[in-house]
């Protein structure tokens, strides 16, 4: 209705869309295909689109070669707890900012913007030194602390939006009815905020699940490393990688974030736009 595109234009549009879909999907399909190919097919000079004799050998071999299970558990533990702490810590601040204006909001905005910009190396060196002094280097606890702060800016933005979406009038009505401040928060605000809290938690979970740089620097013992770090071990020296297990492990590492992201993608878009443009 909005556009009055002719049939030729329409065809062009669909062609462009098709190109985009192929560009998006092709590398991922290739990863999946590689993950299920037997070693013989991977060694062939003429790769085929689909595995001719699909196999699960690569997955078995991946688990044999690297402590994938352990790494997955480490990632899970770090991501779950970091996300939980981040949401717990960010929610009160988001509430304060959303309900009041002034210097606090300006400072928080400034920090969020600036924190997007500094190169992590400038933060990770001092963190490395400090965590080392605290004997928290090479420990998931130390990593979780870093992830909490790392996930905070965006979590804060998402939450501020969600708090604003809860009509202030509802809280005021509850106050008029004689509910105390705490009661209002617990019985009026919190239930309305719950979906937003979950979305924010999921977002923080993914950020931590996917994170690589801090984990690479802060975790040295193989048994303590997270999944993204362990994945790089498959690459071997000078990239002489065993393609099948590499693809299999990489594919597995993606599944949780894809699943979670599928649920919250729309909500993140709003948060991102708000965070990027509005202040």
């Amino acid at each position: 209705m909005r556009s009055r595109t002719g049939p030729v234009g329409r065809a062009g549009q669909y062609l462009a869309l098709l190109g985009y879909l192929v560009f998006l999907a092709f590398p991922f399909l290739w990863l999946v295909s590689t993950a299920f190919k037997p070693a013989r097919e991977l060694g062939s000079l003429h790769p085929t689109w689909l595995p001719r004799h699909p196999t699960l050998d690569n997955f078995r071999q991946a688990f044999d070669e690297q402590p994938l299970l352990r790494a997955g558990l480490n990632s899970l533990l770090a991501a779950v707890s970091a996300a939980l702490i981040a949401v717990l810590v960010a929610t009160p601040l988001a509430y304060a900012i959303a309900r009041r204006k002034g210097r606090l909001a300006t400072a928080a905005t400034g920090w969020v913007v600036v924190s997007q910009a500094f190169p992590f190396v400038l933060v990770v060196i001092p963190l490395f030194l400090v965590l080392k002094d605290l004997h928290l280097i090479d420990s998931l606890a130390g990593l979780v602390l870093v992830y909490v702060v790392w996930a905070l800016p965006f979590a804060l933005w998402m939450l501020i939006g969600y708090v604003r979406a809860v009509p202030r009038e509802l809280e005021e009505a509850a106050a008029v009815d004689g509910a105390g401040r705490l009661r209002t928060l617990v019985s009026v605000t919190a239930p309305l905020l719950a979906p937003g809290l979950v979305a924010t938690w999921l977002f923080a979970f993914i950020t931590a699940w996917n994170e690589f740089f801090f984990a690479l620097v802060l975790l040295k013992t193989p048994q303590k490393q997270t999944l993204p770090v362990v994945l790089t071990h498959f690459l071997g020296a000078e990239g002489a990688a065993d393609l099948g297990p590499l693809a299999a492990a990489a594919f597995l590492a993606t599944l949780p974030s894809l699943a979670v992201f599928a649920v919250i993608q729309r909500r993140i878009t709003g948060g991102m736009l708000a965070g990027a443009v509005k202040s």
Binding site: S3, L93, T106, L145, E171, A253, G271, A276
Partner: protein
Amino acid sequence: MTLTTARARSGRRFGGGSGGRPDGVTGGRAGPPADRGAWLLVLPALIPILLLSVGPLLYGIALAFTDSQAGRTAPTRWTGLLNFRDLLHDTLFWESFRIGLLWAVGVTVPQFLLALGLALLLNQDLRLRWLARALAIVPWAMPEVVVGIMWRLVYHPDAGMLNETIRDVGLGDGRDWLTGLGSALPAVIVVGVWAGLPQTTVALLAGLQNTPHELHEAAAMDGAGAWRRFRAVTWPALRPVALAITALNFIWNFNAFALVYVLTNGGPGGRTRLPMLFAYEEAFRYGQFGYAAAMGCVMVAVVSVFLAFHLVARLRGGEDG
């Protein structure tokens, strides 16, 4: 609807904290937290932010003026601007700096142009639109490490689909994309564009959906062609989002690490050694903490220019829409 939060805030806008705004009136209402309460709300986040973000950042900047090294027994000393003077003469660093700029521009610009086209496209009533949205999740949600691994499989000289396609079409034998001196950087840039495209597209799409319908229709009625409508209606409304996203993308790309670490680890011969890779090696392979921190400072200085850009775009966004 995509714009949960953006919509939520459109009713009562946030004026960058300027107290003189009319929305200061709301302060007169029975707003829940009193002053003392407000501090209790702020502290849980403030403490970790100060201890683990602001603190380390300042400490990091301070380190740039010292000779801090890994595993050194002698105490760390202030060396003033020595690190920066050394950096000035470090041709390898400037080379990586140049590569970082090339990469950041090389990724950000095509990414924006493609994303803009796609956002306009996806704003139309097309049948496969849902699929494009669904697939957009893939690059967006993937760990960067996996994106790198995935593209290594695509670029693989023998077992990769890219070269096989080139051979099938009869364009030659293909090449070893990631280890070729000339092809490595472009190959890595393509991956960078791929990885950030959906995010940029979706942001621009959300911005498009915020532009007023009526204006479009009025312009169409007046017989304005597609280009005129874009120039006169779409772009002015989209500009704040576009500027903010582009500035952020540039900053993120300039500071990129994981993707290139996995794809090439800076090779071949340093052709894809981004500044972050360089600083990482300096700090954690050679243990030169002070020197690496100085590199970080120089990177911050560059990025601040774009940050200022971003802030301006942000403030404008707050005023316009």
